[in-house]
């Protein structure tokens, strides 16, 4: 009965056994995370090393793990009963959205973290942490060697195929909502003496520097496709790339999911940012001789965005695993005798590094503690700055010209004049 997590009826003894196994699984994960914690405290895990390991995990280890999990188990029969897993992410995201709005209603977060609260409740970690939990639980709960076909990562892979696309769609909706909210706030604040007014020099200076402001400048609301593709669009994209990189290396660097590469950047592109020259644009160059250039441009841009969204490393690993598993399993399995078994074994060993890597990176991130400087009142901060500028106009001019003394975003008011940013910790990153 090694195929089951528990045998017999669910009495108190069995439930206690399950709880102990869960504790053992969490303890196992905590042990590995402690190693990362200790390494960070010793100064071994530098931000550059963390970023490199995170990239290794996202782009190689996790795809290899998923590939080696999918190949043995995928089949037409399995797809016939497990197909709801393709749709389940949509249900979970909608539920998360509802829970997020409910949380907003109950806890009443600050204005500059309302949508962030919704997003935090909606978008869970779907790759790194589930992989870790399932792998460790598998070892703790399996009383015998688990049947090859019952690898839970096989079923997790199916969810990962559709999740990035759905995450992009819902994320883009949230961003449009944020842009609409911003436009409404701009329209309401028409007083030039109001620091929040649309034409206030201070607001202009801060919004131009903020990513949200750049998005709004490009037309916002996802309508900036062609318009946003000109001018400083490349800079926007680079900024988003830097943001993703900094989020991976400075905030919570572990478990950088594959959607880091496609999902968020895809949302940005939907909002009008410009991608680097790609397959879609080269295709556009070919078809631009046709009459409907605008339609071709639109289609190519959308195709590029879709490709970037879908073709994240974990998805590539799953798709390759499914193809090999359904069309050429005999080439790699059993690995001891199959012609390409050596290749499968190599990929499996690379995938085995995913869980320890992710947990070490998690411990490294947690060693740096939470952010301390956050959530200052935007209006109060800007009002103080405006008041100071009226008293000392020269100083205000210097402040606008100095990156050290310039707020990075009107709404993410983590900055405060005269308040030093933290020089360490995962949350100490600041675009200034």
């Amino acid at each position: 009965m090694g195929d089951y997590y528990c045998v017999g009826s669910l009495d108190q003894h069995v439930v206690t056994g399950i709880f102990v196994a869960s504790l053992r699984a969490v303890g196992c994960a905590a042990t590995l995370a402690s190693a990362g914690f200790w390494l960070a405290r010793q100064g071994v895990m530098t931000p550059a090393l963390s970023k490199g390991l995170s990239t290794l995990s996202v782009k190689l280890a996790i795809p290899c793990l998923l590939f080696s999990s999918v190949v043995p188990g995928v089949s037409a029969k399995m797809l016939s009963y497990a197909w709801p897993l393709f749709l389940l992410p949509a249900v979970h995201l909608l539920l998360g959205c509802l829970v997020g709005w409910l949380t907003v209603l109950i806890v009443k977060p600050p204005e500059n973290f309302r949508l962030g609260t919704v997003a935090a409740c909606t978008f869970g970690n779907t790759t790194g942490i589930p992989v870790v939990l399932l792998s460790v639980l598998q070892q703790s709960l399996g009383r015998a060697v688990f049947a090859e076909l019952a690898d839970p990562l096989l079923f997790l892979s199916m969810q990962l195929l559709t999740y990035p696309l759905l995450q992009w769609a819902l994320g883009a909706l949230l961003m449009r909502h944020a842009a609409a909210r911003r436009r409404a706030a701009d329209a309401a604040a028409a007083d030039p003496l109001n620091p929040l007014a649309a034409d206030s020099p201070l607001r202009v200076a801060t919004l131009v520097d903020s990513p949200a402001g750049r998005l709004l400048d490009s037309g916002g609301g996802g309508t900036g496709g062609a318009g946003g593709a000109s001018g400083g669009g490349g800079g926007r994209m680079k900024h988003a790339s830097r943001s993703c990189a900094s989020a991976s290396c400075s905030y919570i660097p572990m478990i950088s999911q594959g959607e880091d590469d496609g999902g968020i950047l895809g949302m940005g592109m939907q909002m009008g940012m410009r991608a680097a020259p790609s397959v879609g644009e080269r295709l556009y160059a070919i078809v631009q001789t046709s009459a409907s250039k605008e339609t071709a441009r639109w289609l190519c841009t959308r195709a590029t965005v879709l490709l970037r969204l879908v073709a994240v490393p974990p998805v590539i690993g799953v798709v390759l695993g499914a193809l090999v598993g359904m069309l050429g399993r005999g080439l790699v399995l059993p690995p001891e005798v199959a012609p390409l078994g050596w290749l499968y074994m190599g990929v499996s060993k690379l995938g085995a590094a995913a869980v320890p890597l992710n947990l070490i990176l998690l411990g490294t991130a947690l060693s740096r503690g939470p952010v301390r400087a956050a959530m200052l009142k935007t209006k109060a901060t800007l009002a103080c700055a405006t008041s100071a500028s009226r008293r000392h106009p020269q100083r205000q001019t210097q402040a606008q010209g100095s990156p050290r003394l310039r707020p990075s975003s009107a709404n993410s008011a983590a900055w405060s004049p005269g308040r030093p940013t933290h020089g360490h910790g995962p949350n100490s990153f600041h675009p200034t």
């Binding site: 992410p89 973290f113 962030g116 609260t117 839970p152 660097p253």
Partner: protein, 118 residues
């Protein structure tokens, strides 16, 4: 605490993400049971996977999304940190609930299948 992310906000997100969402996931899985017939040999991992993605902390790339939305990315990073801190305390209970559910579901479906055969 003045000047920082309100603790109620952090607590709310932690509870919503690590307690409320798993319960919602259980409800969804319970509704799904009659509509999906999974072979008993694969039932445990199947149902565990449908549940486990609901008990994970927030994805770290939400910090980037917050920045793109113009929201407070530092607050987002803080809530993610608190979720990872609370996860070891809450996860054993949630995982116990999940595994108990999977075992119970497999028993029920097996019993139904046996009853149908008889």
């Amino acid at each position: 605490m003045r000047g920082e992310l309100p603790r109620l906000n952090s607590l709310g997100v932690v509870l919503a993400r690590l307690v409320l969402m798993p319960l919602c996931g259980l409800a969804v899985a319970r509704l799904l049971v009659p509509w999906v017939s999974v072979p008993p040999a694969f039932a445990d991992p199947f149902w565990l996977v449908t549940l486990i993605v609901t008990c994970t902390p927030t994805a770290n790339n939400m910090v980037v999304l917050c920045e793109l939305m113009g929201d407070n990315k530092h607050a987002c990073a803080t809530t993610i940190f608190y979720q990872y801190t609370a996860a070891p305390l809450l996860l054993p209970f949630v995982l116990t609930l999940f595994v108990s559910f999977t075992c119970r579901t497999r028993e029920l479906t097996s019993a139904d299948a046996d009853g149908g055969l008889l």
